[in-house]
Point group: D2
C-alpha cells in the first residue's frame, strides 16, 4: 500500500443507483427506500487487503476473500460500506429497530410536528396466536371470524385515539403531551444510516424466524431488495455463513465426534456428564432439558444418530 | 505509575450504599432506584493522574483536578465510573431516553410477558399548552376545567385500551401483536447502566429546560438524588461548567470584546457583516434574526450594552 | 418486575475481592491487576429475567439461563457487568489491544511524563520463526544460538534507544518529541474498563491461537485468573459455546448432512457446485482451495468421512 | 415527510470529486487522500428537517439551520455524512489518532507484511523544547546546531533499527516479533472512515493548539483542504461555534455580569467565594490559582476589567 497519485473515480453500484429513492412497500402503509450509500464489495476487499496483506491480489480472488472474512468474523472491512435509508415504520417495530445502537438516526418528531395520521391496521387474516413453545413468538392465524372482530374493534379504537389526539391539539394542548395516548403502532418516519457490518448483524437478528413478523418484513426487504443488489458477493457469503449456519458448542462437537466414530456409549457418557440425561424418578423418562433438545435437533439436521434414542 | 503489590479495598460510597434499592417516585406511577455502581470521585482523579501526569498528587487537589477535567472536556476519566438503575417509565419518555446509544439496557419484554397494567395518567392541572416560541415545547397549563375533561376522557380511553388488550390476550392473540394498540404512555421497566461521562451528557440534555417535562422529572431525580450523592465533586463541577455555562461563538466573542472596549461602532460592524442587522424595507425595523436574538440575550445576561439598541 | 422497596445489599464476589490489587505478572516486566468490578453471574441473570420473562425463576436455573443466553447470543445481559484493570503492556501489544473500541481507557502519557524506562526483552529461547501456513503467525523457536545473538543485539539496541531519549530530554527537547524513536515494545501502563460482553469478545479473539503470543499471554491471564473467578457460570459457558465451538456454514451443513445420510455422491455434488473440487489440468489433483481444506478439517474433527477422499 | 416515489439523484459534491485520490503531503513522508464520501451540507439539512420539523423549508435557510444545529449541539444530523480517507502517518501520531473510538479503521498489518521502510525524520530546525507552562506541550525550537546533532543521531539510529529488523526477517524471525524494536515514528498506512459529527469532534481536539504538532498537521489538512470543500456551510459554522468559541462557566458568567454592571465589589465577592483569591501568607500576593488565571484571560479577551487587578 503506497500513496498513489492517480485520480480515483468514485465507487458506484449501478444496480443500486437504479433504485435510489424508490419506495418498497412494507405492511399496510410502511415503506423502505434507499437514500444514499457508500462503498461496494470492492471497498471491502480493498480494506481487507491493506490489513491482511497483499498476498491475494488477483481480482478473481475477491469472492474468496470476502467469504474468508465473513467466515472468520474479520468484521472491520465491512465497516467501510455505509447505507442510508428512509423508512416508515409502526412505532412498536421501530422500538425494536433502534435498540441496535450502532446506527445514525433522525426521526420524525411528534414534539415539533403533528403526529402522522396513520396506524398499522391488522387485516382479518393476520391475527396470530401465541406460540406455546416459544414464549416470545407467534404461531398460526386466528380463525378468520375472530380476526374480523378484532380488525373491526381495532379500526374503531384507532379512530377514537385519533379523535382524542385531534381534540387535544385543537384545544391547544402541547403536541408533546397530546400524543401520549396514541397507539404503539402509529407510524413514524426516519432516516437510518448504518455500516455494512452492523447492518448484517441487524439482518441476522431481524430476518431470523424468532424475530417479530413486522420487523422481519422490513429486514427481509432491506436484505433481499437492497443489500443483495448492493454487495452481491457479501450477501451470498452472509446467507451461507451467517444466516444458514449451524453452531456447535465444544460439548456438542465432542458428542458428534463420538457419534461420527461410531462410539455411541462415549457419546452418551459425554451427554450424561453434561447433565442432559437425567431421568424422572416418577415416569422413568428423560427429564425435559433444553440443551439436549437442541443437540438432538442438530444431530437430526445432520442425519446423525441421536445416541440416547434407540 | 508503577505496579503496586498491596491489596486494594474496593471503592465504595457510603451515601450511595444507603439508598441502594430505594425507589424514588417519579410521575404518577414511575420510579428510579439505584441497583449498583462502580467508582467515585477518587476513581476519576486516579484515572486522570495516570494520563495527565503525576504533577498534582495532593489530596487537596482532587477538587481542582476534577473541575479542570470537566472545564476542558477531558472526558475519559469520567468513563471510569458506572451507574446501574432500575427505572419504571412511560414508553413515550423511554423512547427519548434510549436514543442515548451509549448505555446498556435490558427492558421488560411485552413479547415474553403480559404488558404492565398501567399507563401514565395526566392530572387535571397538568395539561400544558403548546409553546409559541418554542416549536417543541410546552407553555402554561390549560384551564382546570378543560384539563378535567381531558383527564376524564383519557382515563376512559386508557381503560378501553386495556380492555381491548385483555380481550385479545384471552382469545389467544400473541402478546407481541396484542400490545400494538396500547397507548404510548403505557409504563415499561428496565435496567439502565451507563458510565458517568455519558450520564452527564444525558443529564445536560434531559435536565435542560428544552427537554420534555416527563423526562426532565426523571433526569432531575437521577442528578440531584443519586449523582450528587455519588460523586459530589463532579456534580458541583458539572453544575458550574455544563449546566449553568454560557457559550460564545467566535463572532459573539468579537462583538463582546468590541463592547468591552467601548467601541460600539466596531461591534455593530461585526454584527452587520454577519448579516444580523438587516432592515425590513417595509417597516424600517430590524428583521427577525435568530442569531442576533441569541447574542442579545447573552449580552443582557452579562449586563453589557446591546450595541444596536440605543 | 415491580418496584421493590427493600434495601439491596451491593453485589460482591468474594473470590474477586481477594485478588483486588494483586498484580499478575505477564511477559518479562508486564502485569495485570484488578482495580474494581461491578456485577456478577447473578446480575446477568437478573437482567435476562427482566427481558426474557419471569418463566424461569428458580435459582437452580441460573446456570441453564446463562448457557442459553450465550448459546443464542443474547448479549445485552452480559453488558450489566463491568471490569476495571490496571495493565502494564508493551506498546506493540497495546496497539492491538486498543483496537477494541468498546472499552474505556486512560493511558500513561509520555507527553506529560517521562517515558517508562523499560522495553520488553525477548529471551534467547523465545525468538519465533515466521509461520508458512499462516501469514500472520509464528511457528517454532529459532535455534538457541541464533536467539542468543538476537537477544544480545536487542539489549544493546534498546540501551542505545534509551540513551538517545535521555540525551534529548536533558537537552530540553519536548517529551512528546523526544519519545519518537523509542522501540515499539516500550512498556506503557493504563486503566482499562470494559463490560463483560465486550470483554468476552476480546478474549475470544485474543486468547485464540491466531492471536500474537504476547497479547495472548495477557488475555489468558485475564480470562483464567480474573474472569473465571468473577463469573464462573458465564466463564464455563463461554469456554463451551464460544472458545471451543465449531461453526458450520449452510454449505458445510449440507455436506455433513449428506455424509450423515451416507450419500457420498450427494456430498460431492454439493462441494462441486460450491467450486471446491476443481482439478488441476496439469497434475490431475485437486486444486488448493481454502474453504475445502477448512471443511475437511471439520469433518475430521467430527470423525466423519471426507467424501472426496477415498 | 411523506414517502416520495420520484427517483433521486445520488448526492455529490463537485469540489470533492476533483480531489478524489489526490494525496496531500504531510510531514516528511506522510499523506492524506480522500477515497470516498457520502452526503453533503444538504444531507445535514434534510435530516434536521425530518427531526426538527417542516417550519424552515426555504433553501435560503440552509445556512441558518446548520448554524443553529451546531450552536445548540444538535449533533445527529451531522452523522448523516461520512468521509473515508487513506492516510500515511507515523505510528506515534497514529496512536493518538485511533484513541478516537468512533471511526472505522483498517490498518496496514506488520504481522502479515514487512513493515514500511520509512520512519519520520525530524529536520534540524524542527526540534522543539519542552513547554514550561503546558506540561504536555512544546515551545520554541532548539538552536539549529543542537538540532543538527539530533537529526544526525536520529538518522543513524533509524538506520540501525532498520538493519536490525532486516537481520531478523532474513533469519526467519516472525514478522510480528521482528518489528518489536522499530521506532515509534515508523510510518503506517490505514483507511479511516468517520461520520461528520465525530470528525468535527476529532478536528476540534486535534487542530487545537494543545494538540501535538504532528497530528495537528494532519488535522489541519483534513479540515482546511477536505472538509472545507465538502461541507462549506458546516465548516464555516464549525469555525465560528466550535473552533473559535469561548466557554464561560456559571461562576465566570456571574463574575462577568457583575463587571458588566460595573459592580467590581460583587465580582470580587464571587471570586472570593469560589476560593480564587487566596492570599499567600508569605508574600501577601494572590496564590497561583488555575481557574482564576483562566477567567482573567477570558476577561482580557473581552476587554473587560479584571476586578481584582487595580
Amino acid at each position: 500500500m503506497e500513496p498513489r497519485a492517480e485520480k480515483l473515480p468514485r465507487p458506484r453500484v449501478e444496480a443500486l443507483d437504479e433504485i435510489l429513492g424508490t419506495p418498497f412497500k412494507v405492511l399496510d402503509d410502511g415503506m423502505v427506500r434507499l437514500v444514499d450509500y457508500m462503498g461496494d464489495d470492492a471497498a471491502v476487499v480493498q480494506a481487507a487487503r491493506v490489513s491482511y496483506g497483499a498476498g491475494t491480489k488477483k481480482v478473481s480472488d475477491d469472492r474468496g476473500l470476502i467469504r474468508y472474512l465473513l467466515r472468520h468474523r474479520h468484521t472491520t472491512p465491512f465497516e467501510m460500506c455505509e447505507l442510508k435509508l428512509h423508512v416508515r415504520v409502526p412505532m412498536d417495530a421501530w422500538r425494536q429497530w433502534i435498540r441496535h445502537r450502532t446506527a445514525s438516526v433522525n426521526e420524525y418528531s411528534t414534539r415539533y410536528s403533528v403526529a402522522i395520521d396513520a396506524a398499522q391496521q391488522t387485516a382479518s387474516d393476520q391475527w396470530r396466536t401465541q406460540s406455546v413453545d416459544n414464549k416470545q413468538g407467534s404461531a398460526d392465524s386466528l380463525p378468520l371470524e375472530t380476526g374480523q372482530g378484532f380488525s373491526e374493534s381495532e379500526a374503531a379504537f384507532q379512530q377514537r385515539a385519533r379523535d382524542l389526539y385531534q381534540e387535544r391539539i385543537e384545544a391547544g394542548v402541547a403536541r408533546e403531551q397530546a400524543r401520549k395516548d396514541l397507539p404503539l403502532c402509529t407510524y413514524t418516519e426516519a432516516y437510518w444510516k448504518v455500516n455494512l457490518h452492523n447492518l448484517l448483524h441487524f439482518l441476522a437478528l431481524r430476518m431470523d424466524q424468532h424475530a417479530q413478523q413486522e420487523i422481519r418484513d422490513y429486514a427481509t426487504i432491506i436484505g433481499r431488495e437492497i443489500v443483495a443488489r448492493w454487495v452481491p458477493l457479501t450477501w451470498e457469503a452472509f446467507e451461507d455463513y451467517r444466516f444458514g449456519a449451524l453452531h456447535l458448542s465444544a460439548t456438542e462437537t465432542d458428542i458428534l465426534a463420538a457419534v461420527g466414530a461410531g462410539d455411541i456409549e462415549a457419546a452418551q457418557a459425554i451427554a450424561r456428564d453434561a447433565g442432559w440425561l437425567k431421568i424422572s424418578a416418577k415416569t422413568g423418562n428423560l427429564l425435559r432439558n433444553r440443551e439436549r433438545m437442541e443437540v438432538e435437533a442438530k444431530l437430526q439436521r445432520l442425519n446423525l444418530t441421536v445416541p440416547w434414542q434407540s
